[in-house]
Subunit: 251 residues, 2 copies
């Protein structure tokens, strides 16, 4: 399956979810590829040394002679590979915007390698532009992290509208897998109210697993490790393990 | 002074800083106006009941017969007013993009009321588009919140580039007041490393005051209160009080 992780709001846990959900699946022996579609390359720099990244998804998307397989690198985690980003990706709108197949470029390029992996997870930038649309058009499934905060539901209308446009024509088969609530603070009453608000809007689409605030999740990228090796006993590890079980269950 | 709070990354504490810095200044008896330039209206909904908001900054910016004074509302905090946002602001690029004075619209509209306030604080959306550029062109001073995280400095180049373009022609007088580090987690070694990295890039521009992670800052908007009435003994209140002293000192 090809799972896009999207939400145009910044800092809601897209990258943290891509990194650790990817690691959880790889740990189960499922061959997993992380595709970093964010020019900020947070996913990439969380597992790789950027000095070792030569060609990136930018080259794979704009150069017809470069395949995604050409840019894929191993991570230090068995069964987890990554198709890295580089800041050049920021220029891609200018390169693809006129083209008829601009929204299908990622889908076309992922075609040849989709059989090589059990799971392909796409991390997206905090925008609803060409890169995110490419992810939504290429994906079989979509996961939306929503931050547990007073402003949680601001902007979800725009995201849902984009999803509808993608389902209307370029990718009718897109399966909205669900919403995972992130950065949840169990100590507050506010968190419970927000949870209820999100449930009211998204009903059963809300995953049972909630990712609690856990500073270990923030620290592990600095060591280029997943939460599972960095702090296996933490709530972060438990939450992302549970999320991986729930994702597999829903697919 | 007109202080723009900007950083195109999402969730770094722009709104939290606008709300509480504004409240800190108002508490000192300084007449303060919050201008909410974010279509998501997080600043507005943190102090007002959205049902009471009729006209907004959208109307003030597109309608030549509507002044900013026409849309200003009191908050429950003495000396703190707000020029609210509404989702209509999201359409403003389409309305102003062709126009010669599109980047100067806020500056022109703030002109008549700038003498009515000691401080005007502009909250901006997480983009480098027309709204944020309007804020940078209208402002006398700029404050950049940077989240203490492993990815803290990703994207700062783009912001600095935009600031340079604004200083090159439309607003040469823009004073880059400084960088305030937000969402700082004292318990981690990582936070200290990130602090050093940010200091290396921004030197003395980094405020001495660091805003620590404090769940009270996240909760107070739900009660439409500033941190100073909601939780006056909290680290959030202390940090934003100190920041207000430092801002006044630098101006
Ligand atoms: N559950 C959590 N507990 C603690 N920190 C977290 C948690 N989830 C994410 N973070 C931290 O919050 C910040 C934002 O998370 P992340 O980068 O995953 O969000 P994002 O949606 O990918 O952001 P962007 O839109 O900028 O790409 C990061 O510093 C990350 O380490
Ligand atoms: N020091 C802090 N401690 C705890 N929570 C905080 C702190 N600062 C901000 N937050 C919370 O983090 C989230 C993001 O903060 P905020 O909305 O101020 O950022 P922003 O830069 O305005 O985001 P956006 O770009 O989406 O407008 C909010 O839920 C806010 O309450
Ligand atoms: Mg990210
Ligand atoms: Mg904001």
């Amino acid at each position: 399956m090809i799972l896009a992780i999207a939400n145009q709001k910044g800092g809601v846990g897209k990258t943290t979810t891509a990194l650790n959900l990817g690691a959880a699946l790889a740990q189960k022996g499922l061959k997993t590829l992380l595709v970093d579609l964010d020019p900020q390359a947070n996913c990439t720099l969380s597992y790789l040394d950027m000095n070792n990244v030569e060609r990136s998804m930018y080259d794979a998307l704009v150069d017809k002679d470069v395949t995604v397989k050409d840019v894929i690198l191993r991570t230090s985690i068995l069964y987890l590979d990554i198709a890295p980003s580089k800041i050049a990706l920021a220029k891609i709108e200018g390169r693809l915007i006129g083209e008829m197949d601009g929204h299908f470029r990622l889908k076309d390029k992922l075609g040849p390698i989709s059989e090589l992996y059990d799971y392909i997870i796409i991390d997206t930038p905090p925008t609803l532009g060409l890169l995110t649309v490419n992810a939504l058009v290429a994906a079989t499934h979509l996961l939306v992290p929503i931050q547990s905060s007073y402003y949680a539901l601001e902007g979800t209308d725009d995201l849902l509208e984009t999803i509808e446009k993608v389902k209307a024509r370029p990718n009718p088969a897109l399966n909205f897998l669900g919403v995972v609530i992130t950065l949840y603070d169990r100590r507050t009453v506010l968190a419970r109210d927000i949870y209820q608000q999100i449930r009211q809007v998204f009903g059963d689409k809300v995953f049972k697993t909630v990712v609690n605030k856990n500073v270990r999740l923030e620290e592990s990228p600095a060591y280029k490790e997943s939460i599972f090796t960095f702090s296996p006993e933490s709530s972060g590890a438990l939450d992302y393990y549970r999320l991986s079980e729930e994702v597999i269950g829903r697919v």
